[in-house]
Symmetry: C2
DNA sequence: TAGATTGTTAATCGATTAACAATC
DNA sequence: TAGATTGTTAATCGATTAACAATC
């Protein structure tokens, strides 16, 4: 199968988010309508979808419910995914209570922390286990994706331990250097880095660049 | 000035993050050394930097402290930025206590919420003000960047009000449809969308695609 | 049939990579 | 001088856009 670019996958997710928002209100949608709110173009939308097949009806557009199903299938969202949150500080706690995860198919099935005060308790119905038991518990509960919300200095080690335990995908809020972690998929969300994208734009705008 | 791609800016931020990590340990660094941990190539590093000037010494490499200064200047990080957090729920609270912001040049100078219980109190030394006073307070305190941590349904309205109050950059944790908000710069961090990038990779890997 | 909109091919554009002269 | 590494140009690669026949 041809390689799909990361930006294409991102757009597919965006289309899906959009479609879910209008499901029920509208039966059909054109590539043009789908493109606009996601900041794309109709050609781009059709191209992105055509990487996976032909899902529209010429002259009419795409069936909203069918396209939702199709995109869910493409993105691997026909089923729910089992997630562990590592690090139950402020951010980790926020994640345990974040409805946006379960709404979109991700179940946080367990959390880990080093703090003995927290270990053994639960938060929002989710058990907090000791990091020492990570490997065993991850296997027992069939965790597939890890979310890292620890201090940066611990992140590297946690990723390795998750890998050893058979977890093959990680989303880290700690800025990790990605390196070659094949076959593990690692993605980093770095708030400050995103803000720097903004300050760059603001600064160059102010300097009169276009 | 030629247009700089978003991915190039992202890499520059990555280089900077890396350089700060090794500052003090090392005086000079080659494009090769800089490339590897950021998952880039030496040619890419040199190209990225050359978009802004010549900062290296042939045969030697780049001076670490000088390159840090240069990248900070390019990204607009010579000065600190004044940030407001809108929405002091779990995520917002976590942000108010997040050291990674001030460490990287962003000062949260005020927060906003609708909850009258919270309004008037402070968290981590940051005043929580009523959303109704947003426009005035944003001006008074010279807020330049807004971070949105409200429920999704409120996000659109908040962005408009921030724009009216003169804020020209927004980072949103609520999935906002970006549309044309010129001249405002808006960026969205969508946790579930990032996870979908992972599930896509896991799913297509499992299907035997390369 | 006339109008609309897809799916796909070809053209364009931009970003990445390779290569190498310049030079420390 | 020999070795290393930059800065930059040219070549390649891939992604986006344009265009249009197919068809609902």
């Amino acid at each position: 199968m041809k390689k799909i670019s990361e930006s294409a996958v991102r757009r597919l997710s965006l289309y899906l988010r959009l479609l879910r928002g209008i499901a029920g209100d509208q039966e059909l949608i054109s590539s043009q309508e789908l493109a606009e709110p996601s900041g794309s173009t109709s050609a781009q939308v059709r191209k992105d979808l055509s990487l996976f097949g032909s899902f529209g009806q010429r002259g009419k557009g795409y069936s909203v419910p069918e396209l939702i199903d199709t995109l869910e299938r493409i993105l691997g969202l026909e089923r729910r995914w089992r997630v562990a949150v590592v690090g139950v500080g402020k951010l980790g706690s926020a994640l345990l209570g974040y409805r946006g995860l379960s709404e979109r198919g991700f179940d946080v099935v367990v959390a880990f922390d080093v703090d003995t005060e927290k270990v053994g308790t639960e938060l929002n119905g989710i058990d907090i286990c000791s990091i020492d038991s990570l490997s065993r518990v991850v296997r027992e509960r069939g965790v597939e994706i890890g979310i890292i919300a620890t201090p940066p200095e611990e992140a590297e080690g946690i990723v390795s331990r998750l890998a050893d335990a058979g977890v093959s995908a990680v989303l880290s809020f700690a800025p990790i250097e990605l390196g070659n972690r094949d076959p593990m998929v690692v993605r980093t969300m770095d708030l400050a880095l995103e803000l720097e994208g903004l300050t760059f734009a603001l600064t160059s705008a102010r300097n009169g660049d276009s």
